[in-house]
Amino acid sequence: MGFRDLMDEVKLRWGVHPAGHKALTSECAIECMPLPERLTLPLAQHIGAPARPVVTPGQRVLRGQLLAEAVGAVSSPVHAPSSGRIVDIGDYPVAHPSGLTAAAIVLKPDGLDEAVDFADCDDPHGLEPAEIARRVAAGGVVGLGGATFPAAVKLGLGRRNPVQTLLLNGGECEPYLTCDDRTMRERPEAVIDGARLMARALGAEAIVIGIERNKPAAMVAMQSAAAAHPEISVRGLPARYPMGSEKQLVHFLTAVEVPAGGLSAEVGVVVHNVGTAAEISRVLRTGEPLTHRAVTVSGAAIARPTNLRVAIGTAVSAVIAHCGGVRRDVARYVMGGPMMGMLLPGTEVPVVKGSSGVLALVADEAGGGEASPCIRCTRCAGVCPIGLLPFEMAARIRAGKSEAAVDIGLKDCIGCGSCAYTCPAKIPLSHYFSFAKGSLAAAERARLKNESIGKLTAARSARLEREAQEKAEAAARRKAEREAAKRDAARAVAAEAAAGRPQDSQVSA
């Protein structure tokens, strides 16, 4: 293996090797965290349209009950993690760097944990592919790898593109995080089962499970669980960030590049996270929707780093308290991994379906510091998995030329942060890219608005014209009526007069 690692090191010309810090939690089995006082369940825990509440404040709900339904094609429902009463539906702080609030349902568990009747299924492998996808959708499963894309939508991709391969992403290349590692070690059968179900839904013949070589135990566990299934192969990945990124994974395992701006399904590959697979197996077999997830709680400031199975909606503060609180000054609270995770505005925000980690980092770990000018050392370009020139893009963006940054690939940037991680000048490169992508999106919104304004204006002038015409017509009609009336009157008079003497000439005038 040492030799293969070396070969990969030579072959791959991108990526970074951040300090893993995985030992903090890799031997901590996933333990169930008791229910907290309150659960805050945001309506948008996935990419796509927010779910629509179907409950009202004050209503009592049971575990697994549907709280909010999916709206439209790309959306995902929200279910109650336990029984209790709906306290409120309103805006609450969520895990987002802006510190803004978002619509959420607040549930106060009553501790009884009564569940609705779940429709379990003994042989989900007998289900039709479409039915698998339907049940996954109804179960509120989204990608647990962080992207939180509704899993069922991805399962439906097989219908549009022929998909040969399902890749299971056991990369978990982010430092600190070990929940995927633990899931593979503790529930290898569930992962394999879920993978086979997904492959069935997709119509994929082969399943490839990629695991970074820094997780030998997970590798062994998965290999033995997959042994019975010849269509499944378990492959080692070099431990390097961002190996877990879809494009890199696909390229490494299948030697195919996903075309720019395209989906991996276009090249016959669909990627899912191992945790997603395990959840899909559970959802299909028990019929219970997704209401809990495994979360790594780590960082040097956490008193007792570990892996937890947490009810969705649990406050980060409660999670941390459960892990013994913090024991050192916390520089940053982060949700997700340190490389792509987001800074938390505070700890009173809920764990959501996409939360793979909760980190309390001390200053030494968090990096940062004053940025200095770029010295064009090109390290950022060297590590970029996409082959971009981050320093050049950032320079263009700083000079106010975001479009010029698009010309050299801004839109291809996956935001992995490798560049910023490695930049000796500590330039917040990925911040620049998020900023530019944001302003381009805003410009696009403005353009669309402009277009619609054009239409609205045209509609208005059409309306005004129509109204004017109607008015004119009405006026003409009224006039005609008046005249007709006059004429009638005149005619009557005339008729009357005709009885007396003829006055034709007057009438015609």
Partner: protein, 175 residues
């Protein structure tokens, strides 16, 4: 001297003939820039640019007497498109600062006079006679005409509220 004068004069005469001829023969109509530019403008005829509507603005742009940043509703996106079209450098500095605004109606003061409703170039204000009016966020360009005309000053322009949907990262501090 004679040679000098005649030979050069001859050459010049010929060249003049050729050039005059070429100017006539090779005459090319200038492109229809004005109408093209007008098509790019929002067309809301709001007059914020200081010209009598988008047509005037387009004419001024075409002859170069107005900056590409003239149209607030079009925003930086339009300015860039115009700069591209006209082949000039756009100084968006002044524009970037301009936060988008929309009109809001304070319902407690609104008397339902419908003046704003009639003034709005995009039909962004809804409501009818003697009813309280409200503004459609998606349609309002923030041109402020309604606010100007409102007899009770019930209409005012406010910055577009930030939501998770339109929030975006600010530029990094420096370096």
């Amino acid at each position: 001297m004679l040679i000098a004068v005649t030979s050069l004069t001859l050459i010049a005469g010929c060249l003049g003939l050729i050039l005059g001829f070429a100017a006539r023969r090779f005459h090319v109509e200038p492109p229809e820039t004005v109408s093209e530019i007008e098509a790019m403008l929002p067309g809301s005829q709001c007059g914020q640019c200081g010209f009598p509507g988008c047509g005037g603005a387009a004419a001024a742009l075409a002859e170069g007497s107005a900056p590409v940043t003239l149209c607030p509703p079009g925003g930086p996106a339009l300015a860039r498109a115009l700069a591209e079209k006209l082949g000039v450098a756009a100084d968006l500095g002044a524009m970037a600062e301009h936060e988008p605004t929309i009109a809001t109606v304070r319902e407690e003061i609104c008397i339902g006079c419908t003046k704003c409703f009639k003034e709005c170039p995009t039909d962004a204000i809804q409501g009818a006679m003697k009813q309280i009016h409200s503004v459609m966020k998606e349609a309002c360009t923030g041109c402020g005409k309604c606010a100007d005309i409102c007899p009770t000053e019930a209409v005012s322009l406010v910055p577009l509220p930030t939501t998770l949907g339109n929030w975006r990262w600010r530029a990094p501090a420096c370096a």
